[in-house]
């Protein structure tokens, strides 16, 4: 038994350093790729058989299908993405495909795209949550189409919310950013290719992301409200809330979660006879709650 276990351990270790023992058709595809036997006529060879497919031919409407440019069609053409033809024609040897049935791993599929799409907006792709979760480029992007839907402003949310169903739900809350109707897109705040920031935000942190559209909150104010300065998400949920103004909890309850001084803030929540409740709640008096630049504005009143 000990010998058997030891052999198993060796097998495990060996498997970890092995790079070649893969099964068909992946093995075939790797060998084909390394062999580099490209077709003699490029895309014209492919089109001979595939011209009846509207989807295939739609590549020539897309950015990737323009031969007179710096697109794949100006280089190795179809084989730039689908690998060298090898014995595909005639013997039906497999080509690199990108659907769910593809034998390639997500990382391998993505290596096709990242070879060319190596720019700053994708600088953190390899460490991104999407890469970690084996999301492939074609999970979101379509190539054989005149225009990729995820790049169309009012269709992007539909693509993202296919997986991010909690974000989709949040769009229906009492207050939310106008994503549901396509007036904003997920990529206004997030980089789906990953970023060096938390939650793949486009800017260096949450607050700087918010300031892109809400620069009036940036200050810096003479009198800063500490949780506001530290993180907008301390009080707001950017994806949506059952409360007004994306607030995590209603005013005055939210304020009273942090304020219980010897004066009025520590009083029990009252009904509308309280100035902390009726009208705009605590903001009736503390209207400059994001910070005040008034010399006498320490309490965010002016």
């Amino acid at each position: 038994m000990k010998i058997f276990n030891a052999m198993s351990v060796v097998l495990v270790l060996l498997s970890g350093v092995s790079t070649g023992a893969a099964a068909d058709p992946l093995d075939t595809l790797m060998k084909k790729f390394e062999g580099g036997k490209y077709s003699k006529k490029g895309a014209d060879t492919c089109i001979m058989c595939h011209k009846r497919s509207e989807k295939v031919m739609a590549i020539f409407e897309s950015v990737h299908g323009q031969a007179n440019s710096k697109s794949p069609m100006a280089g190795l053409q179809c084989e730039a993405c689908h690998g060298p033809q090898g014995k595909h024609k005639g013997k039906n040897e497999p080509m690199v495909t990108f659907g769910e049935e593809s034998p390639l791993t997500a990382e391998m599929l993505n290596s096709v795209c990242t070879a060319c799409h190596n720019d700053t907006s994708r600088v953190a792709w390899h460490t991104s949550l999407h890469a970690e979760q084996d999301v492939t480029c074609v999970s979101c992007h379509q190539l054989h189409i005149s225009k990729d839907p995820v790049l169309v402003k009012d269709r992007q949310v539909e693509v993202c919310s296919g997986c991010h169903i909690s974000a989709k739900a949040d769009m229906n809350k009492r207050s939310s950013h106008p994503l549901k109707w396509g007036d904003m897109t997920c990529s206004d705040c997030h980089n789906p290719h990953g970023s060096m920031s938390e939650s793949a935000l486009n800017e260096i942190d949450v607050n700087q992301t918010c300031y892109e559209c809400h620069a009036e909150k940036r200050g810096p104010f003479l009198w800063e409200h500490a949780p506001v300065m530290e993180n907008c998400a301390n009080c707001h949920n950017a994806h949506g809330s059952v409360n007004q103004a994306l607030l995590k909890t209603r005013v005055p309850m939210l304020c009273k979660q942090c304020h219980a001084n010897d004066g009025h803030a520590g009083t029990a929540p009252g009904d509308n006879s309280s100035i902390q409740t009726g009208g705009q709640g605590c903001l009736n008096c503390h209207g400059q709650i994001h910070g005040s630049n008034h010399p006498s504005g320490k309490a965010f009143q002016f």
């Binding site: 600088v123 530290e230 006498s296």
Partner: protein
């Protein structure tokens, strides 16, 4: 025996996926024998160089509340908009034109021209109006920076309008790329705000909004096959025409509004890949400044003219991920963020009721330094099963706050199963523990807070979260999804403040290709967020507790029918319902009253292709929306039914039905 079997399974699994990071990218291609330089690509053409569609929509909106335009994009009356999504390819050059209901309340248009893979210029225009209320009532009417008292109550509209223009230029040569982006956004309208006399009188107002924000970004990058570096700049300038507000002749103190300000950031970013290991890093040096003139009670600057506030920031991020062996990925990162407030410290006289109090307070510099260390591992147990575990530690230092240091330790794990045919199962768990230094309420001279108070963003906290996400495709035509989640934040050492918060619920989805020509989508979910808090005015002798119970539910169903497409007919419909509720109970009473919103949205659309290019259609949208907030008060209320000294904008709740019918004409190229 179990050990033996599991090891064998593990070994086989890792063997079977041994080729774990093969690069199929064109830059790794063996092109030694390729003759592609001679490829003519004679058939690489599209039938059309102009592709897409353009059209108009004309119709009528029927609604007595402009709030409906937030969703339906038109206000009451005639509705007209332009839609277009066009592409023109010509010898490697490409032009894209987009118009999305241009002319409506939420229109967007853009044009992009360029040579593919080399350069492009994009210009866009985005117009949004956000209607919050039609019926704000106040005798105070804005005129510039002043609110002038009118003889009679004025009904005012609270609507914010954003008009944003942007232009972007990108250039890419072989290994060098650069971009410059500039945008200008004008924001105008009115928003709900409030003015106080510093005592017990306050007036809710329809405050004017008139500001501009200009953002600029530019960068240049160099890249090779496995590396990239970029130097970039980002600047933002905010200019507020309404930098102060006064209730003319009321004796109320003049109120300062958001000051003009600006920010600048310079960033160096880099990436390097070494075989199966990828490094990326970024360093950003920035500053935020504002030197707006002080607003004083009588509106006249005296003495020191401005605070000249300045905050310098330094952010550094480093990440590495490596596929160290078959099936095993390791990841680590360090994120450093420093906020250094450089504003001069001075004494400022504070206000009490209707006079300056003689009480001077000094401004405080709020500095933070945050360092986050994260490590994680992802291992493929067997083919189709992956387990991920991670640990994050976040150390935060603060100055001039009630707690100087907090440390968060976060453990998380995910088990993902894709090996079972037609199933994708993800089970996530997280546990985190936050502690830190002593609270300083009793030693902070500037704080009047109760010494038992623990502010929730600083307080000790133990969090537990679990989430199950399952997608199942029992048929090729049917996909089901379920997400259930539960989260608990326990503020372990808090007696006064937020004590506990729970967030739990579920989401479901169904996507069904019922017939070849009929697809159906259904989704829905429900969420509960419960927050327990406690407080006291003085000590724990007058403790009170309150529970806030938030609930949210939604449901949607839609279909698309293309069975008559041979005859040029396409029909689709969607319906969605949502309800948001918040109740706060103290001593058994719902102290804040009813707070709820419900919405129903229906869209029905039918298109008919008169010819292959010309399509006419009819689109009907219905919205029923209602919200309530019992804390809103009429402008005039009976004594005892509202607080003394408060003048409100009235009850701003909504309750409306809206109908939008549009005839569409579309031309397909």
């Amino acid at each position: 025996m179990k050990f033996k079997l599991s090891l064998i399974t593990l070994a086989l699994a890792t063997c079977s996926s041994a080729a774990f990071a093969f690069d199929f990218g064109v830059t790794s291609a063996n092109t030694q024998t390729s003759t592609n330089a001679k490829w003519a690509c004679k058939k690489c053409t599209s039938k059309n160089s102009l592709i897409g569609q353009a059209g108009i929509e004309l119709g009528s909106m029927n609604s007595d509340d402009d709030h409906a335009a937030n969703n339906l994009k038109y206000t009451d009356g005639f509705a007209a908009g332009v839609n277009a999504d066009l592409v023109y390819n010509n010898k490697g050059y490409r032009t894209e034109v987009v118009a999305d209901e241009l002319g409506s309340e939420q229109g967007y248009g853009a044009i992009k021209i360029g040579r593919i893979g080399v350069w492009n210029v994009e210009a866009s225009f985005d117009e949004k109006r956000r209607y919050n209320a039609n019926n704000a009532e106040s005798v105070w009417l804005a005129d510039g920076n002043s609110l002038i008292e009118q003889d009679e109550m004025q009904t005012q509209q609270l609507v914010l309008e954003r008009k944003k223009s942007a232009i972007e230029v990108k250039l890419k040569l072989d290994n060098v790329a650069s971009y410059i982006r500039f945008s200008n956004e004008d924001k105008t309208g009115k928003r709900a705000s409030s003015m106080t006399n510093g005592g017990i009188e306050t007036v809710n107002i329809a405050a004017p909004v008139e500001s501009q924000t200009q953002n600029m970004a530019a960068g240049v990058s160099l890249s090779g096959q496995n590396w990239l570096t970029e130097l970039s700049y980002k600047g933002s300038w905010f200019d507020n025409d309404i930098d102060s507000l006064d209730l003319n002749g009321s004796g109320y103190p003049v109120s300062s509004q958001a000051p003009d300000n600006q920010s600048q950031f310079i960033t160096l970013t880099g990436r390097y890949s070494l075989s199966k290991t990828h490094f990326s890093g970024r360093v950003t040096q920035g500053s935020m400044t504002q030197d707006a003139d002080f607003v004083t009670f009588n509106g006249v600057t005296s003495g020191q003219n401005s605070a000249d506030t300045r905050v310098d920031t330094l952010d550094a991020n480093f990440k590495v991920t490596s596929s160290v062996m078959s099936g095993l990925r390791l990841k680590a990162s360090v994120d450093y963020s420093d906020r250094d407030n450089k504003t001069d410290i001075n004494e400022y006289e504070q206000y009490s009721y209707d006079v300056l109090s003689g009480n001077f307070e000094t401004n405080t510099r709020l500095d933070t330094t945050r360092t986050a260390y994260k490590v994680s591992a992802s291992y493929s147990l067997v083919k189709g099963q992956r387990i991920e575990v991670g640990f994050d530690r976040i150390e935060t230092e603060r100055s001039n706050q009630e707690r100087e240091e907090t440390d968060d330790n976060i453990f998380w794990a995910q088990w993902r199963v894709t090996g079972f045919d037609k199933w994708d199962i993800r089970l996530k768990g997280l546990y985190s523990d936050r502690g830190g230094s002593e609270f300083l309420y009793d030693t902070m001279s500037a704080s009047d807070e109760n010494t038992l108070m623990r502010k929730y963003y600083l307080a000790d906290k133990k969090s537990s979260k679990a989430e199950l996400f399952v997608t199942h495709a029992p048929l090729d035509t049917l996909s089901l999804s379920f997400r259930g989640y539960y989260g608990l934040d326990d503020y372990t050492n808090t007696q006064i403040g937020l004590v506990e918060s729970k967030d739990y619920g579920y989401d479901i989805g169904l996507s069904w290709q019922a017939l070849q020509d009929l697809s159906v989508n259904i989704d829905g979910g429900y969420q509960w967020i419960d927050s327990d808090q406690a407080s006291a005015q003085t000590t724990n002798l007058d403790m009170w507790q309150a529970d806030t119970e938030d609930q949210f539910g939604f449901a949607g169903v839609g279909f698309n029918y293309t069975g008559l497409s041979q005859k040029g007919i396409n029909i689709s419909a969607d319906y969605s319902y949502a309800v948001s509720i918040s109740d706060s109970y103290s001593n058994g009473f719902n102290v804040l009253g009813d707070y709820e919103s419900t919405s129903h949205n229906v869209t029905v659309q039918a298109n008919y292709a008169i010819t292959e290019q010309t399509i006419v259609g009819l689109k009907y949208q219905y919205a029923k929306y209602q919200d309530s907030d019992d804390t809103q008060l009429p402008t005039y209320y009976y004594p005892g039914t509202g607080p003394t000294g408060l003048t409100t904008l009235g009850v701003l709740n909504h309750d409306y039905d809206a109908h939008l019918i549009l005839a569409t004409l579309q031309y397909r190229f």
